[in-house]
Amino acid sequence: MQYMLLIYDSEADSKKRPDAEKKAEYEGYMTFTREIAQAGKLKAGDPLEPSTTATTVRVRNGKTVVTDGPFAETKEQLGGYYMVEAKDLDEAISIAARIPTSKYGSIEVRPVMKINM
């Protein structure tokens, strides 16, 4: 099965983190990404620019309405994602628990819907 691992973290708290910690976190991400890629579990994954760069688009009555900012204001913001291959939810959970951000933020694990075309 494929799972989307959505990485949420407080951008405000993350800014306050000392440089040494940020560096360690970055290295943690590099190691984690390399490991799951080597294990053949990685389908895709990227960090995202901060939510202040987000734009929300809606089409209403045929008109495109564009607004600044994310869809909803939340305490934690979506900061990146991984798409992984896992045998079942338990394996997906164990992969999610290795993402560095899981230690202070949250990882939402979402199964990817299978569509028969």
Binding site: Y3, D88, L89, D90, N116
Partner: protein
Amino acid sequence: MALPMASTASDLDRFYREEFGRILATLIRVLGDFDLAEEAAHDAFAAALEQWEREGTPLNPRAWIIGVARHKVIDRIRRQARFDSRREELIRMAESDSSDSPDGENAFRDERLRLIFTCCHPAIADDAKVALSLHTLCGRKTEEIARAFLTAPATMAQRLVRAKRKIRAAGIPYEVPSAELLSERLASVMAVIYLVFNEGYTASSGDRLMRTDLCAEAIRLARVLVELMPSEPEPRGLLAMMLLHDSRRDARVDQQGEMVLLEDQDRARWDRGQIAEGLALAQCAGRIECAGPYAAQAAIAAEHSRAIDAEATDWKRIAELYERLSELSASPVIELNRAVAIAMAEGAEVGLALIDSIAGRGDLSDYYLLWAARADMLRRLGRWSEAAESYTMALGLVGSAPERRFLRRRLEQVTRQNSQLG
């Protein structure tokens, strides 16, 4: 093959309750699909209701149901017009002989264990875990579970549908967790069973103090767990604790349905057979020094069960056991219980000081038993007006009608005492 005696609807009902969990577990393994397995099991039980009444119960009813369920599944899949890539695979699985396992009882055991872990997976919401466990393992119908938890049947049905959909869509595994996850997952299973028991033992709302049916279901689930994992001490501790608490069910309410405190209970009405079983299990659960939280609670329950009357209770020992329990799983509720035990051993003054220090931290300010315990200490000390205040606080927070009436009686008593003073 058929026995000459025709089976009645109530025979089948009992068989359904006892066997549904096992049969469903086998079908889930055969079919690899929770919903399909459940539909097939229900189809087969419906067929049994019709045929067994007419022709008698087959020699091996379990095998009969599983066989019929497999045919029903194949019919069902063939009838479905829409194209499904899994169709052929499912038919092949249903036709395969894999349910006639050579291991017999052992295979059934493993399948039920897998089902317990699936139903109590931490990714399922707590209320759904409880509903799913009662539904699949105890063969309880949706309406029965809804009634037990005072929920509308439609709400309960939706909760079950959502949980089953999550099992399938999110890929919740249908297996016994690996060694490194086992203790954590076992704790989750035991927490679900304990939740069912607690709701039965002191109903959080409603007219009755207890729902003995829920206690019985929890005990049944724990028996399954003990039977399935005989080398684990904590399920034994859980079962022992529940058996010992439940042994007092007939003495906990009087003929009018009013609550009777432990110290006032007629101990002749305690279920001695259940106590003997509970005490033996509590002993099996291990020495207290190395016991887990459930075994420690079983040891506490055992102290009460052993005391021939309230005065003979070894409160000092109980306070020590609560202390041990605190070390294992610190919680303000355990501290409160310890304070009460110390009060029984050393006097209400000491107990009141301990309760006030817990209250001071604010953790339990919404917990009616904190106020009820505090009120009781003040009542024992003859501080009537303060006791009345605490009883009033407890009354504002309490759940079931018999508990509310009990607190009201105590409030009236201390108010009377207070006015006699003045």
